[in-house]
Amino acid sequence: MLSDSLIKKLEDAAGKYPCRKSALLPALEMAQAANGNLLDRGDVAEVAQQLGTTTSQAWGVATYYTMFNTSPVGKWHLQVDTNVPGMLAGADAIVDRIRKRLGIEPGQTTPDGMFTLSIVEDLGSCGTCPVIQVNDTYYENMTPAKVDRLLESLKGGVMPPRRDAGAWGSECGILLKNRGNRKARSIKGYKAGGGYAALEKARGMNPGDIVEMVKQATVKGRGGAGFPAGMKWGFLPKDDPRPVYLICNADEGEPGTFKDRQIMEYDPHLLIEGIAIAARAIKAAKAFIYIRGEFGWIADILDKAVAEAGKAGLLRECGIVVHRGAGSYECGEETALIESLEGKRGVPRIKPPFPANVGLYGCPTIVNNVETLAVIPFIVQNGAEAFKAIGSPANFGPKLFGVSGHVNRPGVYEYPLGTPLMEIIEAAGGVKGNLKGVIVGGLSVPILTADEAKSLKMDFDSCAAAGTMLGSGGVMVINDSASIPKIALRAIRFYAHESCGQCTPCREGSAVIARLLGGLVRGTGTTKDIDTVLHMCDTIMGTTLCPTGDAFSMPIRAMVRKFRSEFEALVK
């Protein structure tokens, strides 16, 4: 039974959205929190009724997202991210330590009901992994010794405070200008550094002129696809009676990517200023920040900053709602994100129609990545030419590169587009050991061998010319101690876990490839299996409803083709 106070909270949440069903994810999260971290069936049905949706749809949503517990978990839910960056940083040793200490396997709960151990997918902590998420709190840079201390503390009922962590560096001083300035998190501190001047300037500008300026600057989208933001804005229908929505994609789930959280956590007002300007440019009625649910504390920071900005009268033209996801990689895809924001399962829609025409609630919608929106204030303040002065031809502006894996100082580094990859890796302390390969744009892009990586420049066109993609700029450095087949297996297991299940090649194809690679790694595979994997990747490319099929076919294919001898060596 939902308590009266919970129903009131739920109603408050529903009131924030143009459509009540949008509050389904937050409402389920509230119901779960109020019930000792467990979703009760009766509560789900009540929430469904309260929000005017069906029980089956609510249960479909509850079982879709990983952050909802439909079966009991212990008092302390230990969630270890073993995805590729975690794997390279020793996450498996962390899992082993917990298994030994607690005597449970992943998926199990200790008999006293105190601890549950789960293996989870990328938590967006690639530069600070291994990471354990205990209930909602991240513990980063873990070592087996730290695991012991954490478990002791939890046994005593004490949750240690979360520590700020992560190395960073900034060559451009635009996106990370406030990374080391704690005061900038408050509106006062942000304004003291010249913040919100760009919004002020934008308010004096014609919306069309702002769009034109961003078009001129040629801001290629920073989320992964690299589609120019200004051009995207230009796709909005003219003289349309429907409201326009702006969504900031803060779902940051691509393994190897942990850049957007640097902006949101340390410089939230920079993002809010960018959103406010973009909202003015496209005449948005409302803006949403869709942030992955695991970043709960960052969402709190954003909530506070939005409230401050609202109080200061900066959001009069367009309010901002911070919307928390609930655990789904797929929701980083813009149409799946829109579905999720409508309170549904995060399954992508068929395009066309594109969101600019039919998006959130069937209205024109623009979805932009955090980093894309965060460069808008610089462009408005300094002009398109100043932006284009940074970077390389046709690839302008600063870019955040998250460097993880086998480097000495993993972290986020801001460099102009076109900076040599090796310079960025040097900034991250250089390669640990001998370089074997680099995945330069998040897990979904083809791996480069050490030779291919050597002379690469980090921009969209150079990466494409090298047969890979800049993607999100999540650089994973791999030395010769790592096994590429194991990386490939871990990667495909991730995609199989995250496949929304809607279309056949992705849903079943990822599961079959995972099985074949699993056999090879276990030593029961055959040479034919290697060819079958390649055939499947070739065929799945371009056959799926959304880009996820390509997102696993491309990297797996590249790993098998470029490091085939490692796969063949596993055939007995």
């Binding site: 249960w59 199989a496 809607q502 849903r507 079943e508 099985r515 056959t543």
Partner: protein
């Protein structure tokens, strides 16, 4: 307008998708998630084709046909993709045609036949997972290909809002309410999901093992239960002269294939030994068989007697929804004009 399929020109009506245009012209493109009633879903990916001027493969179910379009449905690339999709469906779950109720009318089987897939290439583990809790509907999750037609039908066609998808990835499963067994869920057993399922995943429970699809003759008739007049196809096994199952007729303007629980599943009475086949007259507390002439003259004389003795309003008439509109009309006319009373009612009003 005209669309070229594999180099040959075909006439196509306005407003059709590429898949519909192909079907209109008798061309087969495998497709499993599309149904005219639930619309294009673009999910199963079995209907991918190449279209000149468009990059990569396109789902023919979602692309509107345009004049002059050139479509290729038989290139190696198209067939490889279609084959992989259908092969993956066959590999996942348990598609054992031998004793499947849908054998012979299964769309997955047809696609496999067309593409020449003799046996699944991959092994995907699955556990028996079925639901026989409902009175009339049997669900075998291992035969489900997640096409979503049942979910779309339940939510958008009949709007009973019972079914949806739960979980995700390979574990995606069609659920009733909060994953209740169908028999204890809010399902009213209209059977629209049975009607729409392309495989043997959701079937009429009582028809299992009764007759192969090619052994039955489909006899179209009008549902006898109420005045809506839904068109219904009775699947009759001529050997035993029994109705094996009933389905809704998809192109019927009244019901477009939809039926209610009675129309779809309650046809037992037809072959019931309890069914009355001649009039019965009660004498000394016992019934005896009589001819229609004898029965009618008895009714006529008794009604005449009552009317003379107690007046016309001492008589009431009650008619049935199982009669046609015309019969009901005649009955009220009889009560008013012949008997002379307004005491007439109908069971559908209760």
């Amino acid at each position: 307008m005209f669309v070229t399929f594999n180099g040959k020109k075909f006439p196509v009506a306005e407003g059709r998708t590429v898949l519909e245009a192909a079907r209109d012209n008798g061309l087969f493109i495998p497709s499993l998630c599309y149904h005219p009633k639930t619309g294009p879903a673009g999910k199963c990916r079995a209907c991918v084709v190449e279209i000149e001027g468009m990059r990569g493969l396109q789902t023919s179910c979602t692309i509107p046909a345009k004049d002059g379009m050139a479509v290729t449905t038989n290139s190696p690339k198209v067939l490889a993709a279609q084959r992989l999709v259908v092969d993956l469906m066959l590999s996942s779950g348990q598609h054992d045609c031998l004793s499947c109720e849908q054998n012979g009318s299964c769309e997955l089987q047809n696609a496999a036949y067309f593409l020449g897939i003799e046996r699944p290439s991959f092994r995907v583990d699955s556990e028996p997972d079925f639901d026989e809790s409902s009175e009339f509907i049997y669900r075998d999750h291992e035969k489900c290909i997640q096409c979503g037609r049942c979910v779309a039908g339940c939510n958008n066609t009949v709007v009973n809002e019972v079914l949806d998808f739960g979980w995700r990835g390979h574990n995606t499963k069609v659920i009733c309410d909060d994953d209740l067994p169908m028999g204890t869920s809010s399902c009213v057993q209209c059977g629209e999901c049975v009607q729409l399922c392309p495989t043997g995943s959701i079937i009429d429970k009582r028809s299992r093992g009764q007759a192969r699809s090619w052994e039955v003759e489909k006899v179209e008739t009008v549902c006898p239960y109420c005045g809506v007049g839904c068109r219904i196809a009775l699947h009759v096994d001529r050997k035993t002269n029994r109705i094996v199952r009933a389905t809704g007729v998809e192109d019927a303007p009244t019901n477009q294939g939809m039926l209610c629980v009675k129309g779809r599943f309650a046809f037992d009475f037809v072959a019931s030994t309890e069914r009355l086949t001649t009039p019965l007259i009660r004498e000394n507390g016992n019934f005896r068989e009589a001819s229609w002439e004898e029965a009618y003259s008895l009714i006529s004389s008794k009604l005449g007697e009552i009317k003379t003795k107690h007046g016309a309003d001492s008589i009431g008439g009650f008619c049935s929804a199982k009669c046609t509109n015309e019969e009901n009309y005649l009955f009220q006319k009889f009560m008013r004009a012949v008997i002379g009373t307004n005491n007439v009612d109908h069971c559908a009003r209760l």
